[in-house]
Symmetry: C2
Subunit: 508 residues, 2 copies
């Protein structure tokens, strides 16, 4: 009989584009989510945790395609004898599930329904450096009201959230724009636009490509400035490399509303709105958008939110294609150094806006909704960057094992420490080599090691090593300092907790 | 041209076997996980959040099968031009991912590695009432040590966790057994067993079915008692319905060690171990198991964990097939009424044990490990059952809208309340019908509604309605009481926060 082939060992790796999170990475995120949930809760938002798995039908957008049913999402077909099982998929955001939940439970939910949700989402996309296929989202949405008070409230809550997680005033800015204003600008240039569907009216279809080109040009404002955009909208422009970029082909007069729109920002809300009125001219939808911005501005001003925290800023274009009314973006304004050592702004950590066709797919009824999504992982990165949270936290106090028969004594000591609220553990590896125990303590980033050998036990004392001070002394101390600041202390057994507490307090 | 067929509306439902969690269900679970993480952290355990998606290869057990690759798990094949993409799957527990993580990162992790993990897992199983295909697990494991101190520590930590989440001493019991003792008992009956693989040695294969039958019989001890088990192990037994159940066919003498094992439990650990020694006789593995239990018992006794909290109990058989050494189970001992109104014990909320072949699949090296898994949802159900947490929490204070042009005033009032730490919101629905606003407050389970119409504004006052007292009075008060205990208060605008605070405090 042939010897059965030996099964090769499985590879111990995450699937491509996925990663594991260890220790502080996990607890710091949990703590941040808790803080954010605290603010949302105070504002009357209720928690919702929908299932991670949805039917592809309910998720929409990604209907199964015979060749590649999992484009964009991770999807699979339920087993069914006839091969006709439902397609299911992992959620790719928290908004599509909210639409399903609201449609499903609308009779039991209050109207308006304020809800927050936090958790992982999955994208079946090509992974890249720092781009994972599973990441956290943290959303708050108000469903069922068209009132601008809902939008203003979301902006105020976003501002408060950033301050609560540790971004001080001055280091962030919530910027607000309105999709309708941009539609008004496009109307000024091209005539009427079907602003509900964010597409051109059928009759105007011939101008559609030009409009897309205008939108793409608006997106370049940050990079090329006013003069550059003017050239790109009209006859074209030579870029830094000397290559010539074709213009959109507008006349100077047609380009004017777009330029007016892009340069309308001013520190003063009333002034900004004035500038926008000039940009949209007589467009009905444009003026409606400006009125909405005005309402939001008034409510925020009444709430004491100055333009140092929340600002009307027409240069926010991100997401303008997706949303139907106000859009918001939170940006961290402090500078960091990128991987090439160049200064740059940290940038966006949250965004959102109003989208009024959320539930219509399911019920046929239009339900107005508005909300934000906070990028928790980016926000954590920002706090680490600023040194507001440390990348590596303190490990536990390590009780070393000098005599493996006295494990019960050691366990009793760590129990005392824990009861005093001090994180502590007994070394559970092979205790033979004491050096290994200290190496372990080092790997654990332990602040303190406790030692009780037979001699100590007989004398009723314990040795307590300040590992952080010890490391510092070993690194840089002179002999004098070494003598003056011992890092190991001999104390009566009864003083264990007090002495450890004292050392920990001095380390902070 | 034929009219294009109208796409039917998608159904707004979760996939079969999945559900959504609302409000308190989410926040109470989050709070419980936080409490548990606090205990685990104090014991020196580090957080780990592995990816929800693993390769099927790394998950093991569920290798893809051409006909039905997703048996037991939710699995799909990565897209690949040649159709040879990797199979991926959602994790079905937190232990298989731990094995993969440890094998992948073992050079960077401390040894031993204490880690905790909490999060959803997914099972592709037939859903049933109360059985979902996504549910939470909450695990703590120590990898890389064979020391019984690790097992004792896990039991102590489990006991402390239960008390910290709100199960008082006396309402739970952590029960400890050891797979090796059972193996010893089987050796007493049948001769030597390959206790590492938990299977019979090849030479003894003929008795294999009998051994399985013995294990199944042991599992019936709770139901049929000592005499019943004795009959089932030997010649058979008539059950309650009068049907005759065949016996396993052991002689009375062979059955003796099994009976001795099952009846060895005693309030006193030393006595229990004594009884077990009689049951395993000269079996080497059996006596090794008893020594392990003895070590765990000694460490726990030294730590002050009496048999009112943790008990050596040979009747714990759950999971004995899977584990290789000590097994633990936490049981809630108070009685509840089941759906038919019968009293029954609440039962198991956590379990675990030692499994020493965790990482071997990946690396070829045997790595000892031990750990527990807490059933958070069952634990939450128990706390609700005992009235320790309420199923429905208080909603926010609702600021009603009497005059939609004064939204800024209303927002300012809720901002004041929030700044005082009081959960509050402005009604954002259509304010026309005041009755709808109160209905909304009722649906939100609001404790207080605030009203400020034009008259109040002019007089500098606000109306504050105690909705909970109001509901009580409406339900049951006499006219006298009604007069004496008004549920609506008129206070100066400046006293808003103080009065709301007072009402909330009185409601608690």
């Amino acid at each position: 009989m042939a010897k059965p082939k030996k099964q090769p060992r499985p590879k111990a790796v995450t699937p491509k584009g996925f990663r594991d999170y260890f220790g502080e990475e996990v607890t710091q995120r949990t703590e941040m989510l808790r803080t954010i949930a605290g603010v949302y809760h105070r504002y009357g938002f209720d928690a919702l945790e929908s299932s991670a798995v949805e039917t592809v039908e309910a998720l929409g957008k990604f209907l199964p395609d015979v060749d590649r049913p999992n484009e964009g999402v991770f999807a699979w077909q339920e087993f069914d004898e006839g091969g006709n099982g439902d397609w299911m998929a992992l959620r790719y955001d928290l908004t599509a599930p909210l639409a399903r939940v609201y449609a499903q439970h609308r009779n039991d939910l209050p109207t308006p329904y304020r809800r927050y949700a936090m958790g992982p989402v999955w994208r079946n996309e090509k992974p890249g450096p720092g781009r994972y296929r599973q990441f956290y989202q943290c959303d708050a949405d108000t469903v069922g009201t068209a009132s601008m008070a809902a939008d203003a409230e979301i902006c105020a809550m976003l501002s408060e959230t950033l301050e609560d997680v540790g971004i001080p005033r001055g280091d962030y800015l919530v910027r607000v724009n309105n999709r309708k204003v941009l539609n008004g600008v496009l109307e000024s240039v091209f005539g009427e636009v079907d602003f509900v569907a964010n597409t051109l009216l059928p009759g105007a279809a011939s101008g559609s490509e030009m409009k897309d080109a205008v939108l793409r040009t608006i997106d370049k404002f940050d990079k090329v400035g006013e003069a550059g955009v003017r050239e790109l909208l009209t006859t074209g422009r030579e870029d830094a490399s000397g290559a010539f970029i074709d213009g959109v082909g507008l006349t100077e007069m047609q380009a004017e509303p777009v330029i007016a729109f892009l340069t309308s920002r001013s520190g003063d809300t009333a002034k900004t709105l004035q500038n926008l009125r000039a940009a949209v001219g007589t467009s009905i939808v444009g003026n409606q958008g400006i009125r909405e911005l005005e309402q939001i501005g008034d409510l925020l001003a009444a709430g004491g939110y100055g333009s140092d925290r929340i600002e009307i800023d027409p240069s926010v274009v991100r997401g303008l294609g997706y949303y139907t009314g106000p859009v918001y973006e939170a940006e961290l304004t402090f500078e960091i150094f990128d991987e090439k050592g160049r200064k740059r702004q940290f940038g966006s950590v949250a965004g959102g806006g109003r989208y009024d066709d959320l539930v219509k797919r399911f019920t046929g009824q239009e339900v107005p909704a508005t909300g934000i999504s906070i990028g928790v992982d980016r926000l954590l990165a920002a706090l680490r960057e600023k040194g507001r949270i440390s990348a590596q936290a303190k490990g536990p106090v390590v009780m070393t094992v000098m005599d493996r028969d006295r494990m019960a004594d050691y366990q009793a000591m760590v129990a005392e420490l824990r009861n005093a609220g001090i994180r502590a553990e007994v070394y559970l590896g092979n205790p033979k080599n004491f050096g290994n125990q200290l190496k372990y303590a080092d790997k654990r980033n332990s602040p303190v090691a406790v030692i009780e050998g037979g001699d100590e036990k007989a004398k009723g004392i314990v040795q307590i090593k300040d590992l952080i001070l010890g490391a510092k002394i070993a690194e840089s101390a002179t002999l004098e300092e070494w003598k003056e600041r011992p890092s190991q202390f001999e104390v009566p057994r009864g003083d264990l907790v007090a002495k450890v507490r004292e050392i920990l307090d001095n380390q902070d």
